[in-house]
Subunit: 295 residues, 2 copies
DNA sequence: TTACATTGATAAGATTTTCTGATGATAAAC
DNA sequence: GTTTATCATCAGAAAATCTTATCAATGTAA
């Protein structure tokens, strides 16, 4: 019966991920010496070296690599015990870690949080904003409880629940406000500003225009929808916006908004979570609340 | 990230098994209040009741039942991490928990321990002596590292390695010392003294005599081979002994020893362990040492 | 080469956690 | 009604863990 602690495992995991004592300590919200000591304790308890400390870098030994995977599995199982206990109480309380794609988060989350704060004071929502593949990964690893993204996620281990549909609209410089709405083909000839690689909204827009990512075009990549709209307003090109972003992003920017004729391009935003999550019932409740807020 | 500790899990497991705060505390080598407090901490951290404390008994709530299984799985995984780290060092050191059946343990283990003590000072062998089904169970649960028992164990998840064969010999009162060796059939008409239900040696002896356990006979059950031999010496009946027990058990007892004609009844004693054990290499080394000692 | 910056280890003292032993409360058993 | 068994609570002691300050080693830039 070896004398290790979960605390050591958590620190170990952090150090394995960051490869840096200082940053790992930050991630664990402790001082660097405290982390150093616990890592040392762990290595002593196991009787082996887990990390190779070279002058400028810290990385796992082969054995450490192996153990890191197991430790992660254990931490997941422990957290699941917490979830399971929490799920015993059917009410919607406690902490939920929700991942949201960047083209949804800024427009949806504030409203959701506002709505929840009133009715569910014991609810503690932590939002992580990043692109779909990362969300799926962290969800599967058990580092997130749920994610809000464009459906379908098409992951066998995940449950999906649709929240709402949103159309895409065209954003042009005001100088072109009275020009006719371009066809898909017309759009392809314009200078289309899009989010950088990795964002699903980029792919959705390209797909609408029937553009292969393979054939590179003269497009500027922006890191946020806000940036794109600013660029449109100074006449650099045109862009698409999901409906939900419209109000916020065009409020102060001087641009023209045009809707496409039907069938309008659109996407379905939904919530996903691990099928195996003990919190399924709570997550479904949460999805319903978000759905109500979005409507 | 819920704030529970492995210590709490170990205490929880002990309490779940014993259903008694005092005994669980003993098992964990701490005082009863310490255990009470940690269980309370755990229940608080999880926000639920894990045990129902009625006046005269402590038992798991339905949720506790569920969590207990998971906690055991986690503890197993943690211990396996220890094993894995230890296995990194190919040498035969550290603690091994070995289960041995009662008809082998007293005759084999002292010799083995003596042999090991000299050559492997850093080896820490803990012996658990009980019947085969319990050994198999504890082995599978990860509460033992290996077991020494009569082959075949016939468990899909276990590796087997034969250690030695031993014949069975007949023990009779000295008054019958010059009587001819009875046939199997003759044996069936005698008053055969055997170990109580559960011991594999009992079944092996019955099997040799072609006696179904179904048809009950007038046999006295003893709890140790030593008891059986004592009973033979005062003329109550006859018994069989595995060869290895012969020297010890007939040293002081006044009984006659007779060997059966070939093919003599016999059994194969071997060592088994989980196929998945990280310590496989060490366990094989250990088996070889035991084999050498027994020879 | 020297000064400097970065990074992990170490040390000392403070804080927090955990444990023990004594005692209390409750309910069953005699 | 007293005794017994059992778990909870309390106070103080012991152990662990943490923080701040500092050191040592290594690489980088002047």
């Amino acid at each position: 019966m070896i004398n290790v602690t979960l605390k050591q495992f958590r620190y170990f995991d952090a150090l394995a991920r960051t490869g840096h004592f200082g940053r790992a300590a930050d991630a664990c919200a402790i001082s660097q010496p405290a982390l150093s000591m616990q890592i040392k304790e762990l290595e002593d308890a196991l009787g082996t070296q887990l990390f190779e400390r070279s002058a400028r870098s810290v990385h796992l030994t082969p054995l450490g690599e192996d153990l890191a995977a197991r430790v992660r599995e254990i931490l997941r199982a422990v957290d699941e015990i917490g979830d399971l206990a929490r799920a015993d109480d059917e009410r919607l309380v406690g902490r939920f870690r929700i991942g949201v794609i960047p083209t949804v988060a800024p427009y949806l989350i504030p409203r959701v949080m506002q709505g929840l704060a009133a009715d569910h004071p014991d609810l503690d929502i932590y939002i992580r904003e990043t692109v779909t593949p990362k969300l799926i990964g962290e969800l599967s690893e058990g580092r997130l409880d749920a994610a809000i993204l464009a459906l379908p996620a098409s992951e066998p281990g995940l449950s999906e629940e649709a929240l709402f549909d949103e159309d895409f609209v065209l954003i042009r410089p005001t100088t072109e406000a009275s020009a006719p709405v371009p066809s898909k083909e017309g759009l392809r000839t314009m200078r289309l500003l899009l989010l950088e690689e990795g964002h699903c909204f980029r792919d959705q827009a390209l797909s609408f225009c029937d553009i292969r990512t393979a054939q590179p075009r003269e497009m500027l990549d922006g890191s946020s929808l806000s940036t794109l709209v600013q660029m449109v307003s100074v006449g650099i090109g045109v862009t698409l916006l999901p409906e939900m972003a419209l109000a916020v992003e065009t409020r102060s920017a001087d641009v023209a908004v045009q809707r496409f004729p039907k069938p309008q391009p659109s996407r379905t935003i939904g919530m996903v979570w691990r099928k195996s999550s003990p919190l399924t019932s709570q997550l479904r409740q949460l999805a319903d609340l978000v759905k109500a807020t979005a409507a």
